[in-house]
Amino acid sequence: MATRIAPSLPARLSSRRAWTTAGLLIPAYGWLTLAVFLPLGAMLFFSFLKAAPFGDRPLVFTFDQYLAFFRRPYLFDVAWRSIELGLWTTGLCALIGLPAALALARATRGRARQVLFLLIILPFWTNGLVRIFSWTIVLREGGVLDQALHLVLPSAPGLSLLYSYPAIVIGLVHAYLPYMILTCYLSVAAIEDSVVEAARSLGARTPAIFWKIILPLSLPGLVSGAILIFVPVIGSFMEPRILGGRIGVTMGTVIEDQFTQAFNWPLGAALSFIMLAVVLLIFGLTSRILPGRVASF
């Protein structure tokens, strides 16, 4: 039978504590409400309209916008392409990011590590658009890459990566790689040296150490990095537009078009919420597949 162990707080003290808690939480929740929930609520409202609610037009409500995929079957292609982009970008970021994080956490110290950290987060300090445009300078015909190639192989044909799928992926990986490196670094740095040594003492060589010890323990970092990268990438529109040429059509660009070109805010809003639903679905599925592994040890 459960017994009361701690004496209950006097009423005045516990309500004061409640006020203190509220006071600490209100700024955060207030900001969330103002900056996130209210605009989202407005968008949700729009998504059920027939046309953007400006001018003296009467408001017409409809579910039509949510049937967008059936009215416009080409959107299935676009949606799949966006998810593909997300997978490629996340995959490449993981492939490059985890080894980078490993090198950072286990092979560098002191000054060298600080300098490397700085270099890694440098992309965050630059303006996104400027970054993407500088990639056009590198990737286009006659650009830096092309010229470098011709320095080595003068007779090679012109190299233009611009306006292609790889160009989009390059731009996205460059922009989002730091996220993966940082989240993986946090996980890898938490791996105690003694754990690796213990594995060695039990007869594990470097490949086994990587696959059986380091990779499983880095999984939380990989997963949180993947989430931080996949979600924005499938909605990205700057890189596809600027680096992709005619290839650069994604859910992000389609939604952007609805807001800036077509002035069809209801459709844009509905597409956004459909995308949100897809992302939540993906989360729901993966959280079932990776329960014990992702949970903190």
């Binding site: 105690e192 754990v195 040594e197 060695r200 007869g203 060589r205 499983p216 040890f297």
Partner: protein, 351 residues
């Protein structure tokens, strides 16, 4: 079950020499402690034996075979770390199975081995738990089980009990000893706790600043320390400095005898007497005369079963006497007393 031999091990970290020509032979099947203060090099020596650190000079051999150049994973050692270093993402069973798996032992055979050591460490039924669900003592035992399941040639323990509280520690010491005896593994145990070293070991090697100062059985080392460091690190000691004169040691008006061989006439000599070997003006010990020494009683520290007496000799240095509280007939504080002890307890030490 093999013996370990280290010969002239030298290890430098930059300008600092951490091990300065250390040599020792660890008998097969015996429990040896490496005892010393922090910075003495004991952990470094252990890690060199394990293979995590390469010495700048010297050799390590297992059973006569030189393993100095061999990587860790080849040496077949079992190691228990101070932080236990259990694999946090694996269950207890998987943790223990890891070493077997590396050696190609899998399936039913592996499971049987795991069960065997779980029984040995009294953790049957815990095999599905995760490390974070275990207490400190339980993690300890899992770490031990994991280290011994592969039947390593040598068991190495790096201060494994220092993270436990006192009671648990003492319990684990007993366990450890039992398991070592049952498995018969050659064991090398690093600690800075001299009581632990004395309790657990068949042999103790004392390290000081990168050198082995003395290596022998606990009794040997305790009763007959060879250096001032060994005498003061292991237990308490009263130190006296005097001059050799006609077969005895002269300190002021006192002539003190010893059973150790004295150096040349006229040379200065230091000796130690353990506090528990001293008494207040005891009568003659049979036919043998006792050493006498005058001092003033400064303080009595009463501890129930025993008492510690702090005295000052004529030159003001502190002396310590340690007695059981048998008859409670003590001198009073400030009184001048005469201490006596047997010449066999006068131990000559070098500085």
């Amino acid at each position: 079950m093999v013996g370990v031999d280290v010969v002239s091990i030298v290890k430098d970290y930059g300008p600092a020499r951490v091990l300065d020509g250390v040599s020792a032979a660890f008998e097969p099947g015996r429990f040896t402690s490496l005892l010393g203060p922090s910075g003495s090099g004991k952990t470094t020596l252990l890690r060199i034996i394990a293979g995590f650190v390469t010495p700048n000079a010297g050799t390590v051999s297992f059973g006569g075979v030189d393993v100095t150049g061999e990587p860790v994973w080849k040496r077949n050692v079992g190691m228990v770390f101070q932080s236990y270093a259990l694999f946090p993402h694996m269950s207890v069973r998987d943790n223990i199975r890891f070493g077997l798996d590396r050696r190609g032992v899998r399936g039913e055979v592996a499971n049987r081995e795991v069960n065997r050591v779980l029984e040995l460490v009294h953790l049957e039924g815990f095999d599905q738990r995760r490390p974070k669900e275990l207490s400190g003592g339980q993690q300890q035992r899992v770490a031990l089980a994991r280290a011994i399941v592969t039947k390593p040639r040598v068991l190495l323990l790096d201060e494994p009990l220092s993270a436990l509280d006192r009671r648990l520690r003492q319990g684990m010491q007993v366990e450890l000893r039992r398991i070592q005896r049952e498995s018969g593994l050659t064991t090398i145990f690093v600690t800075h706790d001299q009581e632990e070293a004395l309790t657990l070991s068949d042999e103790v090697a004392i390290l000081d600043r990168g050198r082995i100062v003395q290596h022998g059985s606990p009794t040997d080392i305790y009763e007959r320390p060879r250096t001032r460091f060994a005498a003061s690190f292991l237990g308490d000691a009263n130190f006296f400095t005097g001059q050799v004169n006609a077969g005895a040691i002269e300190i002021g008006p006192y002539r003190l005898s010893t059973q150790d061989s004295l150096p040349a006439q006229g040379s200065a000599v230091t000796f130690a007497v353990r506090p528990e070997k001293m008494n207040f003006q005891a009568p003659r010990d049979g036919a043998r005369p006792m050493n006498r020494f005058g001092a003033t009683l400064r303080e009595i520290i009463y501890a129930g079963a025993t008492s510690t007496f702090l005295l000052a000799d004529d030159s003001g240095s502190e002396l310590k006497v340690f007695l059981q509280n048998r008859d409670m007939a003590w001198p009073s504080i400030g009184a001048r007393v005469e201490l006596s002890w047997s010449p066999s307890d006068t131990i000559l030490v070098s500085e």
